[in-house]
């Protein structure tokens, strides 16, 4: 029971201070569950990060679900109780942003037309476009595309997939979900 309370409190903190998205959150999770509480070993944590990245959904939620389960099972409980650990961690990590976003949404929808709010967002909008561009640029690395030196086959296929997906979604309005499924099948066939 104490473990569940501690798990809840840890992930509440992670949810509250996890600014800057999934990857920033991972270092907070590591600090709490690996370094501070020793619920999970460093190598287990690396595996959890890899699986969180490889599975769909937000990385923060994925890793909270996985860490909650593993921490409880590592403490000697059964896998059924492990599921409760998942529920605890996921609920705790979502709760702070849920409350905050609810307040922000209320405030924003009420004061959207306010001139100060409007001018702040006028400055924000072009910067957000830059943030999105940066997200795409940061991901253009050898981890996602392979490298020309070590594996030129993977590199050329990756570049081709990138160009086709870009054109298909931008100019032909192909549904992004369909695009992901197609490229997954392509990967299985081509590699």
């Amino acid at each position: 029971m104490i473990l569940f309370l501690k798990l809840f409190y840890s992930f509440l903190k992670i949810g509250l201070f996890g600014f800057g998205g999934g990857y920033a959150m991972l270092s907070l999770i590591q600090g709490e569950v690996v370094t501070l509480h020793h619920w999970i070993s460093p190598s287990e944590f690396t595996d959890i990060v890899a699986i969180s990245q490889m599975t769909p959904g937000p990385i923060g939620i994925n890793s909270a679900t996985y860490v909650g389960y593993t921490a409880v099972v590592n403490a000697g409980y059964s896998s059924t109780i492990g599921i409760l650990g998942s529920v605890t961690a996921t609920l705790a990590v979502t709760l702070p942003s849920f409350v905050l976003m609810l307040l922000i949404s209320k405030f924003f929808l009420k004061y959207q037309k306010n001139t100060v709010v409007e001018s702040v967002f006028k400055g924000l909008r072009p910067a957000i476009v830059g943030l999105l561009a940066a997200a795409a640029l940061v991901l253009m690395n050898s981890e996602n595309f392979g490298s020309l030196q070590s594996d030129s086959y993977q590199f050329y296929i990756s570049v081709a997939i990138f160009i086709v997906s870009f054109a298909a979604t931008k100019f032909y309005r192909v549904n992004p979900i369909l695009m992901i499924v197609i490229c997954g099948v392509l990967g299985a066939i081509l590699y």
Partner: protein, 187 residues
């Protein structure tokens, strides 16, 4: 008429189930569903929402689902969309934790993901241009997204600081142009 609760739950469930690589990768799917298909938000509101969701703590995509749920049906709507966005991850991860210990070393899984990763990057890059058009970026304001992107990409500046600086800049510019009403320039 379809039930709005079910419709919004199912929309976010699909978004949660098909986004790989976390937060930013979810933006194209959310935009397609919420702005283009369902028309729950205008393109401009969507960009404002990106700024809000980025500034608040927590999981980016979940923050977006909370706002959209709230706009549709108040706090009850928020609960529905959040559940929709979180449940797929929860179910999939639990299944993996319970059953597939060797998931990440499975050769087929590796191949599928080698195909998906570059597509995900393209999916993030594509809406950048659509959003640039709808924010009305022109030659005079083009430097803002370019400098923001370069600061993050090359210097590793946290997006949080970019948002704070851009918000402050917008506020100050708003005050300046209010004092000079004969020059109705917009940043």
């Amino acid at each position: 008429m379809r039930n709005i609760y079910w419709d919004s739950f199912w929309s976010f469930f699909k978004i949660g189930a098909f986004t790989l690589g976390g937060g930013y990768a979810m933006i194209p799917l959310i935009q397609r569903t919420v702005v283009e298909d369902r028309k729950w938000l205008s393109e401009k509101d969507f960009i404002d929402l990106l700024a809000i969701a980025q500034s608040a703590p927590g999981v980016f995509a979940v923050n977006m689902s909370i706002f959209i749920g709230y706009k549709l049906k108040g706090w009850k709507g928020s609960i529905i969309t959040t559940l929709g966005a979180v449940l797929p991850s929860f179910i999939i991860i639990l299944a993996i934790a319970l059953v597939f210990q060797q998931f990440k070393t499975n050769p087929w899984v590796i191949k599928v993901f080698m195909g998906i990763r570059p597509a995900v990057v393209a999916l993030i890059a594509a809406p950048t241009f659509t959003l640039a058009k709808s924010t009305g970026i022109n030659l005079r304001t083009l430097w803002i997204p370019v400098v923001s992107a370069l600061l993050i990409w090359l210097l590793g500046v946290s997006p949080v600081y970019i948002i704070i600086a851009a918000g402050l800049g917008g506020y100050l510019w708003g005050r300046i142009s209010k004092n000079n009403p004969e020059k109705p320039e917009k940043s």
